[in-house]
């Protein structure tokens, strides 16, 4: 097997940046390297050069490449204790100050977290009061999220998470099965706006009460994490909430002093300074 070296990664990121305007140069080396290795195996490229050639010769291939390189493994109600905290404390707190909550799912992937959020909000009876925007850099995965179709085999884990979240009903109330797939109740996301947005290069486009970006920045190096956190700071109303993954932290970053920790266990932060 051909080993992907750091120099190969540099050549790749340069070509993709210059030709297609996707910048992977600040992705974390260890996972990016493995993703490239994976693309080589998946498409049976004999070398990084063969992959480079395909990327240069066939502009359409870059979309597929981006889909494969980015990680799209996610669950509904991952970390059920976080979703409980959101329902029992964070959202009620936001509702003290505003009638309509604006929420940004940054890096929404195939949409499992968007559906989790919509189910939670409907069970709280406030789904109609919420404005949700879900973004990802990958247009194909956004289509998948919008379609709300998931493999049936994923539902066992999702159901277990939902039970641990202590939802009001049973998760199967929100979907129906068809030929080994589940079709989510689309009315859950009828007011969700899905957009293409790249955290690496995208600017702030609105202000939010709550930004969720869980297990997305783990694929970035600290330089990029810093930039993205500034973007989130800019995108939050004062006293708005930012949530990252359970093993991510803000304490080291440049703008850490503009946030306070609301819940360290679930990595919920609140913007306290502009």
């Amino acid at each position: 097997m051909n080993e992907v070296e750091i120099a190969d990664l540099r050549r790749l990121t340069e070509v993709i940046r210059e030709k297609y305007n996707y910048d992977f140069s600040n992705y974390a080396m260890s996972s990016f390297r493995r993703r490239i290795q994976r693309v080589l195996e998946l498409y049976k490229f004999s070398s990084v050069d063969a992959l480079l050639k395909r990327l240069q010769d066939e502009p359409r291939f870059v979309k597929e490449f981006v889909s494969e390189v980015t990680v799209n493994v996610t669950e509904m109600f991952r970390d059920p204790s976080f979703w409980r905290e959101l329902r029992d404390h964070v959202l009620p707190n936001i509702l003290l100050n505003t009638q309509s909550i604006s929420i940004w799912h940054a890096g929404c992937s195939s949409g499992e977290e968007v559906f989790s959020m919509a189910i939670l909000l409907r069970e709280m009876g406030i789904l109609n009061k919420c404005k949700i925007i879900a973004t990802d850099l990958d247009a194909d995965i956004i289509q998948r999220a919008k379609s709300g179709v998931y493999p049936l085999k994923n539902m066992e884990l999702n159901q277990k998470n939902y039970v641990r979240f202590q939802g009001q009903a049973s998760l199967d109330k929100y979907y129906r099965e068809e030929q080994g797939k589940v079709l989510m109740d689309k009315s859950l996301i009828e007011h969700v706006s899905f957009r293409e947005h790249n955290l690496v290069s995208g600017a702030a486009f609105s202000k939010f009460d709550l930004v969720l970006c869980r297990n997305v920045m783990i694929y970035f190096n600290q330089t990029l994490q810093n930039n993205v956190l500034k973007l989130f700071h800019e995108s939050l109303f004062k006293y708005g909430y930012l949530v990252v993954g359970s093993k991510e932290s803000l304490i080291w970053c440049e703008i850490a002093n503009k946030f306070i920790v609301v819940n360290n266990e679930e990595k919920i932060y609140k913007k306290v300074k502009d």
Binding site: I6, A28, M29, S30, S31, R33, R34, V71, V73, T74, R78, D79, P80, K160, N161, R164, N215, M217, I218, Y219, N221, Q222, Q225, G245, S246, K247, E248, S249, W252
Partner: protein, 198 residues
């Protein structure tokens, strides 16, 4: 007296374990001196939905406090780390961890292969890999990577393992430098400790 003929250039130790490895890990952690100088990075198969309890249980017997690293945490000398539940634990250049929620590997997240492979890429021949008792083949390819890049490979003696699938799989795919009992693994680490302190 030098039983294992170790050099003193090693930078890190990675340990993989699964079913039947808990007591072995406890024995090793309990026997390490509190001033043991190398980082020890452990990837042990564990329940995906239980975030708490495991590191606390290991800490009871350990002379050095064990931590579950957060993403991009620095890797420090004299610390012991445990891969958190439902994340792969990777080693970055520049002595830091990174976490990943990628697909399961060998039905596992954390996967031992991923921790071992990324560690060997960063530490090359300055890495010691130890694979303990376990019921699947996770870790075998990672051990091969360590060997291919010049590191030292150690497995727990299959005859001593509660379940020997894991070390046996590693022995099939690569050369293992030492096949040792839990007690001997500890002795090797203590010998290494003395070498480094001199």
């Amino acid at each position: 007296m030098s039983k294992f003929n170790l050099h003193n250039q090693y930078k890190a130790i990675v340990i993989g374990g699964s079913a039947g490895s808990f007591q072995v890990i406890n024995k090793i952690l309990n026997g390490l001196p509190s001033d043991f100088d190398l980082p020890v990075i452990m990837c042990l198969h564990r329940l995906k939905h239980v975030r708490h309890g495991f590191v606390e249980a290991l800490n009871i017997k350990s002379s050095i406090t064990i931590e579950e690293p957060s993403d991009k945490d620095g890797i420090k000398k004299g610390k012991i780390y445990l891969a958190p539940s439902n994340y792969h634990l990777c080693i970055e250049l520049g002595n830091a961890f990174s976490l990943s929620t990628e697909e399961m590997v060998n039905n596992s997240r954390p996967s031992i292969d991923i921790t071992l492979e990324t560690a060997s890429y960063v530490y090359k021949n300055k890495l010691i890999g130890i694979l303990l008792s376990g019921a699947n083949r996770d870790g075998a390819l990672g051990m091969k990577r360590i060997k291919d890049r010049g590191g030292l490979t150690i497995v727990q003696d299959p005859s001593e393992c509660m379940i020997d699938t894991m070390p046996a799989a590693a022995m099939k795919v690569t050369h293992i430098d030492h096949v040792l009992s839990a007690q001997q693994i500890l002795e090797l680490l203590l010998e290494l400790h003395k070498k480094i302190k001199i």
